[in-house]
Amino acid sequence: MNLLDAVLWLPLAGFVLLLLIPRERVRAIRQFALGITTATFLLSLALLVGFDRTSAAFQYETNLPWISSPEIRYHIGIDGISLWLVLLTTLLSPIGVLISWQHIDRRVKEFFALFLAMEFGLIGVFVALDLFLFYVFWEVSLVPMYFLIGVWGHERRIYAAVKFFIYTMTGSMLMLAGIIYLYIRAGTFDYPALIEMMMNGSLMLDRMEQNLLFAGFFAAFAIKVPLFPLHTWLPDAHVEAPTAGSVMLASVMLKMGCYGLLRFCLPMFPAAARGAAPWIVMLAIAGILYGALVAMVQPNMKKLVAYTSVSHLGFVVLGLFTFTELGTNGAVYQMLNHGISTGALFALVGFLYERRHSLEIEDYGGVATPAPVLATMFLITSLASMGLPVLNNFVGEYLVLQGAAQVNFRWAVFAAIGVILAACYMLWMYQRVFYGEARKDFSMRDANLREWAVMSPLIILMVWMGTYTQTFLPPITASSAAILEQTKVNVEFHVERQMPRQELANAR
């Protein structure tokens, strides 16, 4: 039992213990949930201490047998990429609890119990090193989120929850078929073992197999990311979810898809991934532009932020499928950035909702006058989200764009338009909500202590990640370099000489 096991299992232990608290003791339930999530976060911080930042190997590994036939192992561990994703999850969990402190006022016990169960599932997804175990956690995280949306959401919550579940389930089923096939082919679910076998050539998947397996895994991850045009569940789920649900969904759950692409799709089926890359990049760029354009015209703040997610995650997918070191690093960095800044945006929108009980932009105006602190927080977060230098998103977007430019300059040009559009929609929303004549028909108080507690760590991180990347990048670089190395195995590079037209005509 090492530190990582403790980080993983503590939320589940919290889930079980929380069920024992009587349901009338609402305050105790909230405090307990906060205590568990905070403790998990502190424990996970300790992971940094013993972490070798220059190694690409999996660390804090635990490898125990679980089911003997077929051989399924409880195999967990983290590398430089999953380390940060675990920390992102554990950081946002206490924040999610704080956000829900007053927002959730009915069936409080169920809410926080499910929230802890979800944290368990989310951490599990990022630490599982056994394909079967990964699939289990993938689904385990789905169920609590379904309930969070369906029970505590807004008007169209049931539609959104069911759509979310069915979309994800359909993708997962295709992935499951892929996992089963891979197991039969390789005789193991163990991820490091599979990669090892692929690297040393004892497991060769032909191009057809790779294409089909890639398609199966990709379907699950692309829906979860979500990649345009599979994104339609996302605006519904985001808008209808309670604030903490939106935060966890945007910040962590969407990263499951990106992480899956990077961890499984690219290194295990490199030939297929490289073959499909131009098409996928096309979809990613379409998503960047489409998400930004649709966000611009949204009258509903939550929906607007939801569409910015489609746009931002397009950058992540673009970065991953450039197969360059810069692009991959940028993609991972962008995953973290999006987690921090979009999570913060959803939290802020939630704060506004708690005051005014509306998500429509037109119901606001002049909020900056009565609530200057809230306005400042919102401004910093918006600036971060649109990629202003010195703040976090700039770093990730820059890396992705440079990686894309190395492969195909046109990709970078089109993607960069998305950055410009981001400035338009964020600032326009900010202007309509916070500037102008202060509305008299409702009172607006400024940020309270709880809201300070939620926002300050996120804003500190935005600045930190934007100015001092050395804290975060080295482990990412080490691990993504290793993954890129794996994507070169088992691939035939075709260099096709383009025959000039004239020559072609002569040949005829």
């Binding site: 089911i67 003997s68 036939s69 077929p70 069936r107 169920e110 699939y135 289990v136 689904e139 385990v140 789905l142 169920v143 379904y146 309930f147 369906g150 029970v151 919550r157 049931i158 929850a161 069911v162 579940f165 069915i166 389930m169 359909t170 997962s172 089923m173 295709l174 499951l176 078929a177 089963i180 096939y181 197991y183 039969i184």
Partner: protein, 478 residues
């Protein structure tokens, strides 16, 4: 008496211990029935419970001394023991659910329990049969008792319709089966399963393909009816809806598992030489069953009909395992059937409890708000529903996993993909139950909801616990 008759030895009686116990207790209940005053009928139920418990022990004892019995008419092997334990356990759980149900409906009688015992006895004979005649007898014992059970509420219109339909269609299907048996006897000169396999695999003795093909097809029709595989499934929704809820639970558990056991044994041993011929049929049968079950379930508003279609869909998944025709396939089918028995009885236990007197509340909408009023019960039901969807870490997921693993190994890639996508469709209608239970405000249907009786609660807890424990530790029964 034939000249080569050898009287059965002592150990052969041990091998049929469960049948002896079940039949003896059932007959005892029939004898005691007229002697028991109405208020004390419950005692007969306890006797039935004891009978099932005894039969479980008997089956375990028989499992210790595996081997043939009665001149090889029965074959008590691991496979038979497994299914014997399963169907007896199903009978036991159904008895538990029946106690409060029959009391509520004021319909307690000894016959009900006796019929249940007889039916299970028939199933234990089916699963251990090594001869088509014995198989047929077991099937008939099981079926006839189930026909009567389906119409047990004889004053209910729907129950009458259910029983009549079940009986007519069931007899029709049995006739098909019997024709098949007759033809195969004509073709091979034997009714022993391994004898048939021997003849069929011997190129010098192999009978005409048209004859064996017809025989296999006819028998398959008979079995397909019993497992409610499409296109022979039409009876199932009506019968499940009309029959008392505990009986519906029973029909989807015991007889179905036993029929699958027989299907597996006949097609994996006797008809193994003909695998090439029946494989394509089985492939289509399983796909069609999954599609019909899942898509029809989407449209249901009555919980019992919904569970009936769900039961059809689950038969389709098990048929995928049969189509894989391998050792893994058989194991996967055994695991899945076990899990399904628990899921199914758990779900019907909730229906039996919730429906109230005269089964007034059986619409899906009636469940609204159950999650608020009865949080523990609703949580258990939700676990069972998630397992029916196939969400890890429940056993329903692992069962599907084993089945599709066997299918992939047998190169049934398309069947696997289509089957898995089917289970995504299935998620929709199971989720609807969860949605209504947790996300809708309570309505009139929750007024005067009594507490759940201890015995139903025991059955529900057992089912839910089994679903979780088997999901985490499948090695317990594999």
């Amino acid at each position: 008496m034939p000249a080569n008759f050898v009287p059965p030895s002592g150990v052969e009686y041990i091998r049929v211990l469960p049948e002896i116990i079940l039949a003896a207790v059932a007959t005892l209940i029939m004898v005691l029935e007229p002697l028991t005053p109405a208020p004390r009928k419950r005692a007969l139920g306890y006797l039935a419970l004891a009978g099932f418990a005894g039969a479980l022990a008997g089956a375990a004892a028989a499992g210790w001394r595996t081997g043939p019995a009665f001149s090889g008419m029965l074959e008590v092997d691991g496979f038979a023991t497994f299914f014997r334990l399963l169907v007896i356990l199903a009978g036991l759980l159904v008895t538990l659910v029946s106690f409060p149900y029959l009391r509520r409906e004021e319909a307690e009688s000894g016959e009900y329990y006796a019929l249940l015992l007889y039916s299970v006895a028939g199933q234990t004979i089916m699963v251990s049969a090594a001869d088509l005649i014995v198989l047929f007898i077991g099937l008939e014992i099981s079926s006839i008792a189930s026909y009567v059970l389906a119409g047990y509420m004889r004053r209910e219109k729907l129950a009458n319709e259910a029983a009549a339909k079940y009986f007519l269609l069931g007899s029709f299907a049995t006739a098909f089966l019997l024709y098949g048996i007759a033809l195969i006897y004509g073709a091979t000169g034997t009714t022993r399963l391994n004898g048939i396999a021997q003849v069929l695999s011997d190129p010098r003795m192999a009978p005409a393909g048209i004859l064996t093909g017809t025989a296999v097809a006819l028998m398959l029709v008979g079995f397909a009816f019993k497992i409610s595989a499409a296109p022979f499934q039409v009876w199932a929704p009506d019968v499940y809806q009309g029959a008392p809820s505990p009986v519906a639970a029973f029909l989807a558990a015991g007889p179905k598992a036993a029929a699958f056991a027989v299907l597996l044994r006949v097609f994996m041993t006797a008809f193994a030489p003909l695998t090439g011929r029946w494989l394509a049929i089985m492939w289509s049968l399983s796909l069609l069953t999954m599609i019909v079950g899942n898509f029809a379930a989407l449209l249901q508003t009555n919980i019992k009909r919904l569970l009936a279609y769900s039961s059809i869909a689950h038969a389709g998944y098990v048929l995928v395992a049969v189509t894989a025709h391998s050792e893994e396939g058989v194991q996967a089918a055994m695991f899945y059937l076990t899990v399904y028995v628990f899921m199914n009885i758990g779900a019907f236990a909730v229906v039996a409890y919730f429906s109230r007197k005269g089964e007034r509340y059986v619409e899906i909408e009636d469940l609204a708000g159950l999650g608020v009023r009865q949080p523990v019960l609703a949580a258990l039901f939700a676990v069972i529903l998630l397992s029916l969807i196939g969400v890890p870490p429940t056993a329903g997921f692992l069962g599907k996993f084993y089945i599709f693993q066997a299918a992939v190994k047998a190169d049934l890639l398309w069947l696997t993909v289509l089957g898995l996508l089917n289970s995504a469709v299935a998620a929709y209608y199971y989720l609807r139950l969860i949605v209504i239970m947790y996300m809708k405000e309570p309505g009139d249907s929750l007024l005067e909801l009594p507490g759940m009786a201890v015995s139903t609660r025991a059955a529900l807890w057992t089912s839910a616990a089994a679903v979780v424990v088997l999901g985490l530790f499948p090695a317990l029964i594999r």
